[in-house]
């Protein structure tokens, strides 16, 4: 993980917050509690800003947990062809074109020709599938394809080893049980079994109990009487058949009906194979899960059809309004609706404020933060809204965890300017020229670098058009040789933003606090607020060393 990072905790995991969107919290206890990024629960509520959405009706952040997804389009990730949703189920969510995945490494397979003449290879078959990553080819299981058109159905007929399946039900009927090699392909066994049981079921209760074989209505049979009684009395006992009374059914008796007799030779063969070829010949779990019928050995793995992917729209779970709606076309990356939190809540970035070169302290390394010495960081909040925003930051005095690192935000209350058009500013008065300074995240900043500026409590470090930077001071404790992850410094910050936003147009009079009698052109302002927890991952705390201690002032 690279430092620094920022995660935002979606308020939906806080069960005490009313889901209907009002951010008021009257409960004092709730306000006392601080967010702990180390708690196991926190894992489920922390998201990066780009994964969060914002519901304008609920005026709340929405995370993947509090949105509903609806599938817009199914498409194949390999050929990018859309599949109609009616076909998706019958094709088991797999691509029907020549998109196959390697059985060994699960990479995509390419169709190549093995025609003896290299010049004609682009035109003439026979064709094979080959993997560009692990060099597996379908020749390893003896597969060659005659045509490019219907490789999928050809593949369905092929057995491992390259022979075609003999088991069409008609042909096997003509060559009855004498066949020496029963078809052990799981697919054909299943179809045989299914057709056998279907025929058994249909013969056992061939007709509706109310109908006589001649077609008339049979009231006298006990089953129809029972059914009529159950209709009138409302008891549903009829539907549940007593298992003891069910008609006895014959089981399949020969391979054409799907009977597979256990062959002890297959076991000894498998053991022999394990003994001679060893562990490498067995299929891994990952390889097995890709297969329709997980085999034991890699030599029995088949190429798999590419699994379809989806484009999805997202709705707010609370008010069911659509938050994200992508265009249905597969190739298009545009959205019809996209209400992402990026456009509503400030982006938070952190970068180290390097000590002044004159103090001769080593530069801050985020992977080894100095111990027992104050290190300063610049926390920058950038406002995406077109209204100025008032920010209040809160952080526990000690970062959570066993080692209580001291954390202080030097200026917890400040304003951020609106994300107005740059032209407004250019045409405005020039006294705010400094504010037009661009936010540069990659520039290294020093204490006292520009005009001897040092961090002061209660003052913002720097301010731009729509961003403000404040200083966070951290004093790390010695973490010692603690367990995994104990040396990571994460600061939970409670961010509360207040602004005056435009009221929604469709609210008819009355509800707007501005009280501008519902005139169309008039802009009414409404006070809004939003509050949430942010976790800023600063870096790893370094080891306490002798020289470092001596150098610290």
């Amino acid at each position: 993980m690279s430092f620094p990072y920022t995660y935002i905790s979606c308020p939906c995991t806080d069960v005490s917050t009313p889901i209907n969107g009002s951010t008021e919290q009257n409960d004092d206890e709730e306000q006392e509690r601080t967010f702990d990024p180390r708690s196991p629960r926190a894992n489920f509520s922390l998201y990066t800003l780009e994964h969060l959405l914002y519901c304008e009706d609920c005026q709340q952040i929405r995370c993947p947990r509090c949105t509903l997804e609806e599938i817009v389009t199914w498409y194949c990730p390999n050929c990018l062809f859309e599949m109609p949703s009616s076909m998706v189920k019958s094709e088991a969510g797999r691509c029907t074109r020549n998109c196959f995945n390697c059985p060994i490494c699960i990479g995509p397979l390419a169709v190549t020709s093995v025609h003896p003449d290299p010049v004609q290879r682009s035109l003439l078959g026979p064709w094979i599938l080959s993997c560009g990553y692990c060099n597996w080819t379908s020749l390893e299981i003896g597969w060659q394809f005659k045509g490019l058109q219907d490789m999928r159905s050809e593949m369905g007929k092929l057995k491992i080893g390259g022979q075609y399946k003999a088991a069409n039900s008609k042909t096997s009927a003509s060559t009855p049980p004498t066949e020496s090699t029963p078809d052990d392909d799981p697919d054909s066994v299943f179809t045989a079994l299914r057709s056998f049981y279907n025929s058994q079921l249909s013969s056992s209760n061939a007709t509706d109990p109310l109908l006589t074989p001649s077609g008339g209505i049979n009231y006298s049979s006990p089953s129809s009487l029972a059914r009529i009684m159950s209709l009138y009395t409302g008891r549903s006992s009829y539907g549940k058949k007593d298992p003891a009374k069910s008609t006895p059914m014959r089981e399949s008796v020969d391979p054409s009906e799907g009977l597979q007799i256990f062959d002890p030779a297959s076991d000894t063969a498998a053991i022999e194979k394990l003994r001679t070829q060893g562990w490498t010949s067995t299929a891994s779990t990952a390889q097995q899960t890709e297969q329709k019928h997980p085999p034991r050995f890699t030599s029995d793995l088949r190429p798999t059809q590419a699994q379809l992917r989806t484009k999805r729209s997202k709705r707010c779970r609370t008010c069911r309004h659509i938050l994200v709606k992508p265009e249905a076309k597969v190739q298009s990356t545009r959205f019809r609706i996209r209400l992402v939190a990026l456009n509503y809540i400030p982006t938070i970035t952190l970068k180290p404020l390097q000590p002044s070169p004159s103090t001769q302290l080593p530069l801050l390394d985020l992977n080894a933060l100095p111990v027992l010495r104050a290190s300063q960081f610049l926390l920058t909040l950038k406002n995406p809204l077109f209204d100025p925003v008032k920010i209040t930051l809160g952080t526990p005095a000690h970062a959570p965890g066993k080692n209580s690192h001291k954390v202080t935000i030097l200026c917890p209350q400040f304003d951020i300017g609106p994300n107005a058009d740059q032209w407004d500013e250019a045409l405005g008065d020039n006294k705010n020229r400094r504010a037009s300074k661009l936010l540069s995240t990659s520039k290294v900043e020093y204490v006292g670098g520009e005009r001897g500026k040092v961090a002061e409590a209660g003052k913002v470090w720097e301010k731009g058009r729509n961003w403000t930077t404040v200083v966070v001071e951290v004093v790390c404790q010695d973490v010692g040789e603690d367990g995994e992850g104990e040396d990571v410094l994460e600061i939970p910050v409670f961010l509360r933003m207040e602004w005056e936003g435009d009221t929604m147009e469709r609210e008819e009079g009355g509800s707007g606090s501005g009280g501008g009698g519902g005139l169309k052109g008039e802009e009414r302002k409404e006070k809004r607020e939003l509050a949430f927890w942010v976790v800023v991952g600063v870096g790893k705390v370094g080891r306490l060393e002798g020289p470092t201690l001596a150098a610290s002032p």
């Binding site: 780009e50 990730p77 990479g107 290299p118 682009s122 990553y133 692990c134 540069s440």
Partner: protein, 200 residues
Amino acid sequence: MPPKPASSKPKGDYIETDTGNKVARRSQLYGTQNIILGGRTTIQPEVCIRGDLVRAAPPKDPKDPKSGASANTSVMVGRYTFVSTGSILRPPHRLHKGTVSYHPLKIGDHTFIGERCIIEAASIGDHVYIGKGAVLGKMVIVKDWVKVLEGAVVAAGTVVPSGCVVGGRPARVVGEVGDGWGMHEGMEGGDMRELWRSVG
């Protein structure tokens, strides 16, 4: 593209062209006439771009009349795209009718290519983030808004659909980028103007 030295630093590490491309002096560009940089593109030091591998058939083939005749574009890099130190951009090739033929390598706008990547893709879309040390095999197609994780090996011929996160060896889809991908400056996959400005 005639090199125009930056006004402030006459002998900087980067050469800035008229269209704002920043090309490191210590980068290795072969066949520069076949390379198109879209403007405001950054090429860091020790980057190698093989523009000399063009589509034209090799001259040793006497049957092909067009052999060595037309030298067309081999590498196209979009605006604000950033190619980090140590990466190699090499147009992909394949055997076509018994001869090796090169295909142009197209890279979109606002795409970030991390350090020490090997890129042999046929096309890379816009707002793509390619992590450190990733390998994109021959004729790979990466659509828009994709994140390739560090050290991923994207097998030859793979198509990475838009909005996916791929990783692993060989790379497969391991997730999806957030809905806000590519919208914000300074984030992965986001607007790269700031990064371009900070260079040189």
